[in-house]
Amino acid sequence: MTIVDCRKTPLNFQCCRLLQRINGTVTRLNYQEGAMKTGTCALIVATLVLTAGVQRLNAQGYFSDVVSCQAADLKKAEKNYLACLDSPNDGVLESGLAHISMMKIFFPASAFPTLEQKVAELSVAGRTPTIRYKAYLTSAVFENPTAFALEAMAGYEDGEQLFRSLAAQMQAQLLG
């Protein structure tokens, strides 16, 4: 737990409230009159903001970020993801679908016709309801990748989070 003592001045108070909103770094605030000079408090706040930023960057571990993806060989990626979709292992297949969704969101103008066809087949003939549902959501991304552009901005800890987000957005967009 990080405890920040700060003066009960409007500026410091707002800074600390802001930090609480950014993430849970500051979990308890002691508001004591004259407990700390404004300069010291500002330094702590700046350090915490930096820490929060680093933590956020580290948290985006499951999917490559857009900068890394720009350098990727898309032909090779498509070939590898196709192999994933043919895997007898459900986890490999589902993970492949998550990464395919993210790739299409990152590269909405790029066409991946073989992948798209395979994903559409899986949405109908996948061997489990989970595979069919995830394939259906991936198909929806292929159909209208820009509608899911905000998904690329979020950091996901795993593929399930991405699919939950896609499902919620589909539901909100189509069924209200």
């Binding site: 559409a120 109908v124 309801p129 989970t130 159909e143 699919f163 589909m170 069924l175």
Partner: protein, 143 residues
């Protein structure tokens, strides 16, 4: 019985009748016999082939509700048409509803709670089916 008591009783009965009619969008009458089933399937298949979006969406809703209300009845006659609509339907909404209907046809036991509800409109049922699917299928690999 006094006239006033009779009038009150009549109004209460009318209220109950109106209230119960407003509750459910779908018929809960069970399918009665193979001839009736064949007729239902033929009619809804014709609706699915319609150019009118509302007709297709309504047919999809009634097919899903039919399966939810009659989970043991074989409605595989809809499978191909519903799959086709989920891939080739004219709007994203139609394709989404067709996909949800296909999941109800394929895996009706997943939607036990949804089959016991009375829906006032079709989208309410699709929302319930969609939510169930998300909760069950996307939560910690439950299936």
């Amino acid at each position: 019985m006094k006239a006033r008591t009779l009038i009150v009783a009549g109004m209460m009965l009318a209220g109950i009748t109106v209230g119960s009619n407003a509750q459910s969008y779908f018929s809960s009458t069970p399918i009665n016999g193979s001839a009736q089933k064949a007729r239902i399937v033929r009619n809804y298949l014709a609706c699915l082939a319609s150019d009118n979006e509302g007709t297709v969406e309504s047919a999809l809703a009634h097919i899903a509700a039919l399966k939810l209300n009659n989970p043991r009845v074989d409605l595989s006659g809809f499978d191909d048409a519903v799959t086709r609509v989920s891939r080739e339907g004219s709007t994203p909404l139609i394709r989404y509803k067709a996909y949800l209907t296909g999941e109800v046809l394929d895996n009706v036991t997943l939607f036990g709670d949804e089959s016991r509800k009375a829906y006032t409109e079709a989208d309410e049922m699709f929302l319930a089916v969609s939510s169930r699917l998300s909760r069950t299928v996307l939560s910690d690999g439950a299936l």
